[in-house]
């Protein structure tokens, strides 16, 4: 008598198990895939209701989220949006995020695992998930100086603190105002984005970390370093220059392509690559998003590579080269975020400067810089590249700068000098 009941109960239990299994797929195992579908507006709506954390420069927030009333949506606001756009990037509900808004999204949206305790506290206090604060290493004065010096030219400027690796300024022009992409009105945002995306000057491109330019003869620094590091050369070794044979140091001063080609042939492409990598080549330093790596051409003739042909580098990369020279040959890993704080502004993480490596021996650093530099100035050492785009790297005290201008007749050296002078005065 009992058996049919047991069997029926068994059938119902199997049905229940199937339901739960299916649910576990929908809600747990396969949830991300389903949830991420583009027609799921819940993701958008969730962002509307969250207080995104601020981005801070110095002691002042440059990007904040606030809402007018307790049941309206949060709105992202930028102070001096265009000034800091190259670092902050944009945050748009329709078009995602770039820059710090993207690379530090976990912190800014409050979902970072370091905020777990805070989230639990918020749960009990009945507050909604708020984002943490990100403090940048930028200096407002340096950023303003770089921004103004670049004026309306197309290109990039990046200033580093060579002793720590902190990024003091990064500007890419032409730029945009992230406030244009921040509103909650989809129509306005779509129009703004379309205008920016279709602009042939590419204002949305971050030229500091996102584009690798042909380096040209600025690569001489790396070639010279590689030459001295290989042991086959010293500053007095004879190298060809024009139709003569001169000491290496003279060839560096005159920037003779024949000398570098000869060096390249002698030390080989592996030595060049190895030195370049110690300077940071083939490494996309993810200080912000997007960031691309600087690269040597593959399979090319070492003689031409040594002169910089086919080598592409981001302005950040060349600033690292300057920073290594400024810091007596030790290269510090660059970083843009100085600390991360909880929504209650307690520090959960502070950046600690770390060394990337020693691409240049200390005794060689100053010699190379003095040989290649094009200025005779006790404090400011500037090395320029000729050709297009116009490059200049320089350092003064603990500041290192790289400037890259796309226009044909641009003068990166002037810009670099102006910025460094400006910043040094303020300090």
């Amino acid at each position: 008598m009992m058996r049919p009941y047991r069997r029926l109960a068994g059938v119902l239990a199997v049905a229940l198990a199937l339901l739960v299994a299916n649910l576990s797929w929908l809600q747990v195992l396969g949830a991300e895939g389903i949830r991420g579908d583009e027609s799921n507006t819940r993701n958008l709506l969730q962002q509307y209701n969250r207080a995104r954390g601020p981005i801070v420069v110095g002691a002042a927030p440059i990007a904040t989220s606030a809402r007018a009333k307790s049941d309206s949506f949060y709105q992202r606001s930028y102070t001096d949006g265009a000034l800091y756009a190259s670092a902050t990037g944009y945050y748009s509900l329709l078009y995602g995020a770039t820059g710090i808004e993207a690379s530090e999204n976990d912190v800014l949206s409050g979902t970072d695992s370091r905020f777990f305790v805070d989230r639990v506290q918020q749960l009990f206090a009945g507050q909604h998930q708020a984002g943490g604060a990100v403090t940048l290493t930028l200096s407002a004065d340096a950023q303003r100086a770089a921004f103004d010096a670049l004026a309306s030219r197309t290109g990039a400027v990046v200033v580093l603190d060579a002793r720590t690796g902190a990024v003091r300024a990064m500007v890419s022009k032409p730029t945009f105002d992230p406030q244009d992409l921040a509103p909650n009105d989809p129509v306005a945002v779509r129009n703004a984005y379309r205008t920016l995306a279709s602009d042939p000057a590419k204002p949305l491109l971050n030229r500091v970390t996102g584009r690798a330019y042909p380096v040209g003869d600025l690569f001489d620094v790396i070639t010279a370093t590689a030459a001295l590091a290989s042991g086959s050369y010293s500053m007095t070794s004879p190298v060809p220059c024009a139709d003569a044979v001169v000491a290496l140091t003279i060839a560096l001063q005159r920037r003779c392509p024949e000398a570098f080609a000869e060096i390249g042939r002698r030390i080989g492409v592996d030595a060049l690559r190895s030195t370049a990598e110690q300077f940071g080549f083939n490494n996309a330093f993810p200080i912000t998003a997007p960031s691309v790596a600087s690269r040597l051409p593959i399979g090319a003739d070492p003689a031409t590579t040594a002169t910089g042909a086919g080598v592409r580098a981001t302005p950040l990369q060349m600033a690292l080269v300057a920073a290594a020279l400024a810091n007596n040959g030790t290269l510090m890993t660059p970083y843009l975020v100085s600390d991360v704080r909880t929504p209650n502004l307690a520090i959960v993480d502070a950046a600690a400067p770390t060394a990337f490596g020693t691409p240049v021996a200390e005794r060689n650093a100053q010699a190379i810089a003095e040989a290649l530099q094009s200025r005779t100035d006790a404090q400011l050492h500037l090395i320029h590249g000729s050709g297009s785009p116009s490059w200049a790297i320089a350092y003064s005290g603990r500041l290192a700068i790289a400037v890259c201008l796309e226009a044909a007749n641009a003068d990166a050296s002037t810009v670099a000098t102006t910025v460094l002078r400006e910043i040094s005065v303020k300090q």
């Binding site: 008598m1 009992m2 058996r3 049919p4 009941y5 069997r7 029926l8 109960a9 119902l12 239990a13 049905a15 229940l16 199937l18 339901l19 739960v20 299916n22 649910l23 576990s24 929908l26 809600q27 747990v28 396969g30 949830a31 991300e32 895939g33 389903i34 949830r35 579908d37 027609s39 799921n40 507006t41 819940r42 993701n43 709506l45 969730q46 209701n49 307790s70 049941d71 009945g126 909604h128």
Partner: protein, 439 residues
């Protein structure tokens, strides 16, 4: 009287959970007004009154049934209230007048349902009294099933002609037909089970039951197919057919009836798919929901998004977006709860249903008389099957139907009918336990 004490404790837990749910919802939505407090308090009081009624009229009844059903009902009320608040917020944003809250009607129906459950306990002292009305119930059941087909008062809502509309209110007579037919099936099978089980007439070497015994079964099948064809609802027809076959299997103990039923179901399902466009649509949406995401599949797809967004622990009451799903208060209340309570919460609720079904089957096994067994089992089966069909439909395990979720969905007929069924189960379990303690 430890059973009633357990019931009191469990009921207190259920009401506490309901209170916490309300408080959390209103806190998350920053609501300050007091309107619904009275409604919830009234429902809680009514549940306590029901408990006292059980003490009086059915003191040995199963202690788990009332608290479980109350908890489900309360959770449904919380979600309906939450959705009302979302409707209000939207109206304020758009500047349209505030809609009338569904919560109040649902709370009123809850109070009515609880009262009727106790009325059943008061008026029906012995469930065997219902056995006298076997064939009356059959007629009543069929009439109730066919009533939506009437010209003036019958109405098609959401594609299914299952409704009666009188003035501003709509009723689903099919929900009450469930109860009548449960009584009929139980009564009929008590009489016929021996002949169905054992009397065989040889046709071409195969032993089949007599036509006069098989007749009503085939009538039942044809009625459910009729519901499918004329009222255009897959769910109700599957529910009735499933209930009948289930009770038939329990009555005879022969698995061949399950197989027979499965074959009939397959024939019915396939032919309906071949013949009817609305069935084809439902199956198409089930198989490829995202292709129809903007058209007929919108409801299902939004429900799936909601469940996935809820994740393991849910978004929290008030923090999700269940209002994005059409008919979130009725058809898709499970996905609303799934979104805000998560996998954990929704599975817990399915377990609550499982508990109810299990208590019903336990009652069926404990009671001595065959009518009581089949009636309790029938009610348990219909509750379980309905939950499975609805939950399966909204989670895309099976095609979507128009069935309501028992005790959760906004809808007076369903709620009241389910509470009457709970009352019947309480009565039968009381008799069962009394007889067991006496022997």
């Amino acid at each position: 009287m430890t059973q009633r004490r357990s019931e009191a404790v469990l009921l207190a837990c259920a009401i506490t959970i309901g209170c916490i749910a309300v408080v959390v919802t209103r806190a998350n939505l920053d609501v300050a007004d007091n309107g619904t407090r009275i409604g919830f308090a009234l429902v809680a009081l009514c549940a306590v009154a029901a408990h006292i009624g059980i003490r009086r009229f059915a003191p040995l009844a199963d202690p788990v049934i009332l608290p479980t059903a109350t908890l489900l009902n309360l959770l449904g009320l919380v979600m309906i209230h939450r959705l009302d608040l979302a409707d209000n917020a939207k109206a304020i944003r758009q500047g349209t007048p505030l809609p009338s809250p569904t919560f109040s009607t649902q709370a009123a129906w809850t109070v009515l349902g609880l009262s009727l459950a106790i009325a059943v306990l008061l008026l029906l002292r012995d469930h065997r009294q219902l056995q006298r009305y076997t064939y009356t119930s059959m007629v009543a059941g069929i009439v109730l099933l066919l009533m939506p087909l009437l010209p003036v008062v019958g109405a098609t809502i959401n594609g299914a002609r299952l409704w009666l509309r009188i003035g501003d209110h709509s009723f689903q007579p099919g929900e009450f037909a469930k109860l009548c037919l449960a009584v009929f099936f139980a009564g009929f099978l008590v009489l016929k089970r021996d002949s169905l089980a054992y009397i065989r007439v040889r046709h071409f070497g195969l032993g089949l039951p007599r036509p006069r015994d098989l007749g009503p079964i085939l009538i039942a099948w044809m009625v459910s197919v009729g519901i499918l064809v004329f009222e255009r609802d897959l769910g109700m027809s599957l529910l009735f057919f499933g209930m009948f076959i289930g009770v038939l299997y329990l009555a005879t103990g022969q698995r061949t009836w399950l197989a027979f039923g499965a074959v009939l179901f397959l024939i019915g399902a396939t032919s309906s798919w071949l013949l009817f466009s609305h069935v084809q649509t439902r199956v198409a949406i089930w198989l490829h929901p995202f292709q129809y995401a903007d058209t007929q599949g919108y409801q299902l797809v939004q429900g799936l998004f909601g469940l996935a967004t809820g994740g393991l622990f849910g978004t929290g009451l008030g923090d999700g977006f269940p209002y994005l799903v059409p008919f979130a208060k009725s058809d898709f209340i499970l996905t609303s709860l799934g979104e805000e309570l998560g996998f954990v919460g929704l599975t817990a609720m399915l377990m609550l249903y499982a508990v109810l079904v299990q208590r019903g089957l336990r009652t069926a096994v404990t009671i001595k008389d065959p009518f009581g067994q089949l009636l309790a089992a029938g009610l348990a089966i219909v509750l379980g099957l309905q939950t499975i069909i609805v939950a399966g439909g909204v989670t895309r395990l099976v095609p979507l139907t128009g069935l309501t979720t028992p005790l959760l969905s906004a809808g007076g007929s369903s709620l009241v009918a389910n509470w009457i069924a709970i009352g019947l189960l309480l009565r039968i379990s009381d008799t069962a336990n009394r007889m067991r303690s006496e022997s």
